[in-house]
């Protein structure tokens, strides 16, 4: 029984990291229809910004979270404004452009700070483990879970209960009708992309104490993020949450029973099979086309 609960908790922890990384992608992909291959690089930029704040300004991880969000969001906004907004309604070109931007960001970081692996210090107050249902769990992982849920709540409210969110949903339904009602689609898109990039940056900063920081770290994350979003169903935030935790529990359980190599293969296989029978993912929001 103990082991069972332990497994559930582990799965929740893996799932929360997946959700954290996928949330930004889900927003951008779901609402703007942009397949953002530079997503992993936004995660990487967030991790490097955390490292930069820590090693050059002596700022701890917790104190630098807000500035990290702002920095990466600003970079995202610039990319949307000067690259992607010029490629309206050209989805293939957009994919290529984001891929190119990703490579440039990666090489840029490599040129500026070198290709050595970096690390970010665990916040002192969260470096212990704590009791959850009688199990000892890393405090930092509990913290990650809480932050992820909080970020999701904020995003949910932003999308469903604010004017910007309403405008975005209107544009998603029909851009030209929304524009004729006086909604500035360009501005809303810019902000949405910036928000998604900022979330990705936060994700990178938050996982950096547990993983290594390197210029090509984004590659792994972008794959994870796409798996979550595709499984959950595009345009469905709730679907993203569900699929992140399903994948987390699934890969945690298989890794425990077998090993991580098998887990990776089986989870991927499960997704492929599921998409074969439900191409729209687990959850779909019906939109009038």
């Amino acid at each position: 029984m103990d082991q069972f609960i332990e497994q559930i908790v582990t799965g929740l922890s893996i799932g929360s990291i997946l959700l954290l990384v996928a949330m930004g992608l889900s927003i951008i992909y779901g609402s703007m229809g942009i397949i953002n291959l530079a997503h992993g690089e936004f995660v990487m930029l967030g991790a490097y910004t955390a490292w930069l704040f820590q090693s050059h300004f002596g700022l701890g991880l917790l104190a630098s979270l807000v500035p990290i969000f702002i920095v990466v969001a600003a970079i995202g906004w610039i990319i949307e404004r000067f690259v992607l907004s010029l490629l309206n309604n050209r989805p293939l070109d957009t994919i290529l452009a984001t891929w190119g931007v990703g490579i440039m960001l990666q090489q840029g970081v490599r040129l500026m700070v070198g290709s050595e692996l970096r690390y970010v210090q665990l916040p002192q107050s969260l470096s212990d483990s704590m009791d959850v249902f009688g199990l000892s769990v890393s405090s930092y992982r509990v913290f990650l879970f809480t932050v992820t849920i909080a970020l999701f709540a904020v995003t949910w409210i932003l999308m469903n209960h604010t004017t910007v969110g309403m405008k975005l949903r209107a544009i998603m339904q029909d851009r030209s009708v929304a524009a004729s009602f006086g909604i500035n689609a360009k501005r809303v898109y810019g902000l949405t992309f910036a928000y998604g990039a900022g979330l990705a940056g936060l994700a990178g900063a938050l996982v950096s104490p547990l993983k290594s920081v390197s210029p090509d770290m984004g590659t792994g994350y972008v794959i994870d993020a796409f798996m979550v979003v595709v499984l959950g169903g595009v345009q469905s935030l709730a679907g993203t949450v569900a699929s992140a935790f399903i994948l987390g529990e699934l890969s945690g359980a298989i890794a425990f029973l077998q090993n991580d190599t098998v887990a990776k293969a089986l989870v991927l296989l499960a997704i492929v099979v599921l998409i074969r029978f439900r191409p729209e993912g687990l959850f779909t929001t019906r939109v009038r086309a």
Partner: protein, 416 residues
């Protein structure tokens, strides 16, 4: 009257046969001269400067270049300068093979120093064997290879584990959790580890491999918690090492009760994960930066002066450094016209030098290196503390895990 195509072909064939049979020495002599011409000896330096393993291979390039510059500054090899030709194989085995061909056939290098991963070594091996050239491989590796065209200056499993495993059993207990990355090196090391465990009464509570580049270790840590081993024996490589150590630390596990014992964690990896995550864990290797010897002090000082005061030296970069000196010694023994890859190989057999780790020697039988095993514990300042030093250098046995097989200068011999 023109020459018909047929006569031309016949003549060409005759000329070919004539040249082949009549003047073989002409051709061989020509290649002889090419290897050490105009006061220059060309060598290839083949370490990745971009891609995933650039993180570590960059330091191997630096150590090799440092040694070459030192040798040249001291007058070169009998008046000839070593000219390094640096290629970047971009962490990709296929590119390794292509660049190796370029260095050996195109540039006519007399030797090539290169490779970190076993995959890249296996990829270049056919090039060096077909061309009968010489490859100098500085990395600790899994053994089980017996090429006449490679000089192996890193440790093989018996040199890292013979002392380490019994020491761990005595100090912490007999239950071992074997974890490695999923490729040939960790599996071979674990094969040998299991043999030693059997011999000394240890036991394996789990043997597990994670994908290369894996960074989510919570399931592994769960299993470690539930199996309660005395030692976590790790052959995880690359950025996974960093993730494993940092997550071990975040999970609140205690290195004093359940330490990780690694064959792959050097100063380089410790710098990447931070001293706080590495502190308390153990590594077995022939060299650590803190090793006290005049040669090592010189090496560390020269390395920092050349490449930056924040740089560390480690057990692979040390091998890069001393193997370049062994190359020099071997070439020095030869007359200028005799400088060819096979002659260098024969000259380096039994050759000794005082490396930063101590006196090392190339074993004539298998072209591996006699080394000085050490056991050390990582400290929070990013350096190690050496706890055990071998009293004698240890013979390399690349087939230690395979009792029926021995690597000799005539190749691999199967004993029935």
């Amino acid at each position: 009257m023109g020459i018909s195509r047929r006569t031309l072909m016949k003549n060409a064939a005759a000329l070919g046969a004539f040249a082949g049979a009549g003047f073989p020495h002409v051709w061989i002599k020509n290649t002889d001269i090419a290897y050490a011409a105009g006061g220059e000896i060309k060598v290839g330096v083949l370490f990745s400067l971009t891609g995933t393993t650039a993180i570590i291979e960059e330091s191997l390039n630096k150590a090799t270049i440092l040694a070459i510059e030192e040798i040249n500054a001291a007058g070169g090899i009998k008046g000839s300068k070593i000219v390094p030709i640096v290629e970047d194989p971009a962490s990709d085995p296929a590119t390794f093979a292509e660049k190796a061909r370029k260095l050996v056939i195109g540039d006519k290098c007399v030797s090539v120093f290169g490779s970190y991963t076993s995959a890249s070594r296996k990829a270049v091996l056919p090039v060096f064997e077909h061309q009968n050239n010489l490859y100098w491989y500085p990395t600790l590796y899994e053994g089980r290879e017996c090429s006449k065209n490679v000089i192996y200056t890193g440790a093989v499993p018996n040199q890292q584990q013979d002392e380490f495993v019994p020491w761990l059993i005595k100090k912490f207990g007999k239950k071992f959790y074997l974890i490695g990355s999923n490729y040939i090196y960790p599996k071979e090391e674990n094969n040998y580890c299991k043999k030693l465990l059997q011999k000394y009464g240890g036991e394996v509570v789990a043997e597990e491999y994670v994908p290369l580049g894996h960074s989510e270790f919570s399931s592994v840590i769960n299993k470690i918690r539930s199996t309660q081993p005395n030692v976590i024996f790790s052959t995880v490589v690359g950025d996974s090492v960093v993730a494993l150590h940092r997550q071990y630390r975040a999970a609140g596990l205690d290195p004093e009760k359940m330490p990780m014992a690694s064959l792959t964690t050097s100063e380089n990896e410790v710098a990447a994960m931070g001293g706080d995550a590495a502190a308390g864990h153990f590594t077995s290797a022939p060299y650590f930066q803190v090793h006290k010897s005049p040669e090592n002090e010189r090496f560390v000082a020269a390395y920092r002066k050349r490449w930056g005061a924040d740089k560390v030296t480690h057990f692979v970069s040390e091998a890069c450094y001393f193997q370049t000196y062994l190359f020099k010694q071997a070439v020095e023994k030869l007359a200028t016209s005799d400088i060819t890859p096979p002659n260098i190989r024969d000259a380096v057999k039994g050759e000794e030098t005082i490396a930063p780790q101590g006196r090392v020697r190339i074993e004539p039988e298998n072209l591996h290196t006699w080394l000085w095993p050490k056991i050390a514990q990582a400290k929070s300042d990013g350096q190690f503390e050496i706890l055990v030093e071998a009293k004698q250098w240890l013979k390399p046995l690349p087939y230690a895990a395979y009792p029926g097989q021995v690597c000799t200068d005539k190749g691999l011999i199967e004993k029935s």
